[in-house]
């Protein structure tokens, strides 16, 4: 069965320092993996997507993630945090090979202090 585990429920960083949000996945086939961001009172927004092409995926707003099959990980990083990055982040895996459904992790709340 497909699943994702976000290893930290809350991450706090200072503005200008690196961000690391950790995600491990479990899949019985080659999965598609995503990171979504949810700002308060706003809809979920796709940050980036991995679909078996390049293992290092670049997304919007300076975020990137690396797919590591040997470690079953898909961690999200950003070199320098900005105050506007404070939000809820979800690691997501496709539920089936047809890609008709997604399984979301429980989320990681990112706080950024000045």
């Amino acid at each position: 069965a497909q699943s994702v585990t976000q290893l930290d429920s809350h991450v706090s960083v200072s503005e200008g320092t690196p961000v690391l949000l950790r995600c491990n996945y479990s899949s019985s086939y080659s999965p598609s993996l995503f990171w979504y961001v949810q700002h308060p009172n706003k809809g979920l927004q796709l940050l980036l997507k991995y679909t078996s092409a390049a293992t290092l995926v670049k997304g919007i707003n300076g975020f990137e993630a690396e797919f590591k099959k040997s470690e079953t990980s898909f961690h999200l990083t950003k070199p320098s945090a900005h105050m506007s990055d404070a939000a809820e982040y979800f690691c997501v895996v496709t539920h089936n090979q047809a890609g008709t459904a997604l399984i979301f992790g429980k989320g990681t709340t990112l706080s950024v202090s000045s």
């Binding site: 598609s32 995503f34 009172n41 706003k42 809809g43 979920l44 927004q45 796709l46 997507k49 979800f90 496709t94 539920h95 047809a98 890609g99 008709t100 459904a101 997604l102 399984i103 979301f104 992790g105 429980k106 989320g107």
Partner: protein, 115 residues
Amino acid sequence: GAGVSQSPRYKVAKRGQDVALRCDPISGHVSLFWYQQALGQGPEFLTYFQNEAQLDKSGLPSDRFFAERPEGSVSTLKIQRTQQEDSAVYLCASSLARGWNTEAFFGQGTRLTVV
């Protein structure tokens, strides 16, 4: 409109009442998804439509939940005899192609509170 629109944004229902939640996807989008997000949790899959066909309803928690998309555009999620555990934000998403092969856009959701 420019994005996925959901209405109402907020709904308070008395236990046992029926509710209907509406989703207007982006025009021309083939795929439509419904998700349920409980407080402090990630969204959980409910059902998937490709045009008017409901291809996956494996996530619907009980037979009190019913979704339709009769003309392949607007979709309605209906919950009969609401229970307190149905309280959650219900999210709708649409994408241009089948499944998640193209980016899916989420609406802001309907927050349902059952009292």
